[in-house]
């Protein structure tokens, strides 16, 4: 319980400092605030989908359904964070570019990731047999994640984009006010803690579901 309260306070304090004390980025102005939610959500999309792939490989090697539970939970949460990154990005785009959706390379990439992992959940939902579902989902998850780094890190750099530079910009530097950087890192750590908590909870729910089906 102490860890949970600490997590609550950590994110709450980071929000207060980020929204009241940290300066605005000159180019982004008022929309700077989106940074503290959008980038952690995008970061956790990659982390969660990567964790799903790792557990899918573990399942294929060991045929342990606990790994499948982790893989499914991570894919669900990855998709959830991906929706968060997409919505916060669309709100930012409306303020900066004048419309919610412009088919910018980054928007197109995140749209494909949403499609890929919605299909993963549809695949899981369409197979009744537990072993078969775990095996096919694991193969799909590994294949799908191969596309994720390409879509997130390669495609947006291949084409002209209006999207601001990523945190580590093309010059290999982090050009960020130190106060903004600390707030941003605090939010990143807080969001990661929230993800770990949600992941463990979702896995416990999966185990309860399996126990209920077996009973």
């Amino acid at each position: 319980m102490v860890l949970r309260v600490l997590l609550f306070l950590w994110i709450a304090v980071a929000m207060v400092v980020a929204l009241l004390k940290a300066p605005l980025v000159p180019m982004l102005e008022e929309t700077t605030r989106v940074l503290y939610f959008h980038i952690p959500a995008a970061w956790l999309t990659v982390v969660a989908l990567g964790w799903s792939m790792v557990n899918s490989i573990v399942y294929l090697v060991k045929r342990d359904l606990r790994a499948d539970d982790h893989a499914a939970a991570a894919a669900e949460l990855g998709l959830l964070f991906c929706v968060g990154a997409t919505v916060s990005g669309a709100l930012w785009a409306k303020a900066m570019w004048g419309s919610y959706w412009n088919w910018d390379p980054r928007e197109t990439s995140i749209f494909f990731i949403l499609l890929l992992y919605t299909a993963y959940l549809a695949l899981r939902g369409s197979i009744e047999d537990e072993e078969k579902r775990a095996r096919l989902s694991a193969i799909y998850s590994v294949a799908a994640f191969v596309a994720v780094p390409f879509l997130i890190f390669v495609v947006p750099r291949m084409y002209e984009t209006l999207h601001p530079d990523p945190i580590i910009n093309p010059r290999g530097k982090v050009d960020m006010d130190p106060m903004i950087r600390w707030c941003f890192l605090a939010m990143l750590v807080g969001f990661t803690g929230l993800y770990v908590w949600l992941q463990s909870l979702r896995v416990r729910v999966s185990r309860l579901e399996r126990a209920a089906q077996a009973a």
């Binding site: 609550f8 994110i11 605030r33 909870l201 416990r204 729910v205």
Partner: protein
């Protein structure tokens, strides 16, 4: 009213509600695990 406070208020409210909801889900999961 300063817009920063409005954004902060909404953010804290959403975070607080999410936190309480997850705590309640976890409590329910713990009860089911004990059965």
């Amino acid at each position: 009213m300063d817009r920063n406070f409005v954004v902060l208020g909404v953010s804290l409210l959403v975070w607080g509600l999410l936190f309480v909801w997850v705590l309640r889900v976890e409590k329910r999961v713990r009860e089911l695990e004990k059965r």
